[in-house]
């Protein structure tokens, strides 16, 4: 919901003016980032606030809890994207040059947002401020992902060397792999006291 509102708002203010290549790609990922922050933070904050986390801790091992939350968040972000992306292309009059690269980049970028977001929301949920902390914690960690994804998206939208996208995609895969592995290892320290 947040994503759609932002999109519409930005399009409105630009009032049909042309959007430059760089800005268009960045815009998309800014929207994705903040939508992820709002969407993903719910996964643990709610459990802490309603007190159901204790029951969960008594019944489950940390790894399945993390994977479950992560997959849910990934699915959430991907379904959000299915709505946002067509709208985005429509409102800004963009045509995609490298469709495959475009889609793969979005997929990998959102999965990365989900994995980092999940463990960080688990950390933020145990703090006093909860929600707002998530953005502060996420930005430095997600910056490499956002930069790479924006770069790849830009190339995919406006044409450019396919090799460039391939390298970006490889980077995203490595990044996701690293963050996911680190999250899985570290999660039990967040979950158990």
């Amino acid at each position: 919901m947040f994503a759609v509102t932002t999109l519409v708002a930005i399009s409105f203010t630009l009032a049909g003016g042309l959007v430059e290549a760089d800005i268009a790609a960045s815009l998309l990922w800014i929207i994705f980032f903040f939508s992820a922050m709002t969407g993903v933070s719910r996964s643990f904050v709610q459990e802490e606030e309603t007190g159901t986390s204790i029951g969960l801790k008594m019944a489950a091992d940390p790894a399945p809890v993390f994977l479950g939350k992560f997959l849910f968040n990934a699915a959430l972000l991907l379904s959000m994207a299915m709505l946002v992306v067509p709208l985005y292309l429509l409102l800004f009059n963009l045509a995609v040059v490298h469709v495959g690269g475009f889609l793969v980049t979005i997929f990998l970028g959102l999965v990365g947002l989900a994995s980092a977001g999940t463990i960080l929301s688990a950390i933020a949920a145990q703090s006093a401020v909860k929600g707002s902390l998530l953005t502060v914690l996420s930005l430095p960690i997600l910056l490499p992902l956002l930069i790479t994804a924006t770069n790849a998206t830009r190339t995919a939208l406006y044409g450019g060397h396919l090799a460039g996208i391939m390298t970006d995609i490889a980077m995203l895969i490595f990044y996701n792999g690293t963050v996911l592995a680190a999250s899985l290892l570290l999660f039990e320290y967040v979950w158990n006291e």
Binding site: V129, L133, V136, L139, P140
Partner: protein
């Protein structure tokens, strides 16, 4: 330390070709070591964080925090000296050159680390969660090194085609530069040592008052 500062102004002749007067090049004697220490401090903070998670020894947490505090200070210095250099050498304070971006992100990581710590009341939880964060953030740092240069062209000397400039530094400059590097590292280690001991004493005092 004072010897270094003195030497950097008196002993080292101005390097030609750097900015209007060449004086600004002296900055490199401060800038590079501070950046180096900022990164080293973070590495140490991460190591102690891992140590904390494995041993749950509060001392490790204190060591991690001490390193992070020092690291933040040095990182701030590095960012500022870098910006001054940038203005002098290329005309603008900030241009998202890869190294600048990296040091800015490091600064953000330090800031986030302390924001996290300040938002948790319970000491055990604070130590545990900030340790996790430090480690997680550390795993993403290498990506900055690879990612950003690909996207932005670099204005930094020592990267890519700039290496000729480095060797253009006269021997006197090299001596002072390396001495500065060593000196900053020693300074950092010494400060870290003091900081940790200070915190140890504070912790002991706390425990004694508790009994």
């Amino acid at each position: 330390m004072t010897a270094i500062i003195a030497a950097s102004f008196l002993y080292v002749p101005a390097i030609p070709g750097f900015g209007a007067t060449g004086e600004t090049a002296r900055l490199i004697i401060y800038h590079v070591p501070t950046a180096w220490v900022a990164v080293l401090a973070y590495l140490m903070a991460t190591v102690y964080s891992v140590g904390y998670l494995l041993t749950r020894d509060a001392r490790r947490d204190r060591q991690a925090v001490a390193n992070a505090e020092l690291g933040t200070v040095f990182c701030l210095l590095a960012t500022v000296t870098g910006a001054i250099w940038s203005r002098a050498a290329w005309g603008m304070y900030w241009n998202w050159d890869p190294r600048q971006t990296s040091i800015a992100v490091l600064l953000m990581i330090y800031a986030a680390y302390f924001v996290l710590r300040s938002s948790i009341g319970c000491a055990d939880r604070r130590a545990r969660l900030s340790a996790v964060y430090a480690i997680l953030a550390f795993t993403t740092v290498p990506f900055l090194v690879f990612v950003v240069p690909r996207v932005f062209p670099s204005l930094h000397p020592n990267l890519g085609a700039g290496s000729e400039r480095v060797s253009a530094m006269s021997p006197e400059v090299w001596v002072v530069f390396l001495a500065s590097l060593v000196c900053f590292t020693v300074l950092y280690l010494w400060l870290q040592n003091i900081q940790v001991r200070l915190q140890d004493l504070q912790a002991k005092r706390l425990l004694r008052s508790v009994d």
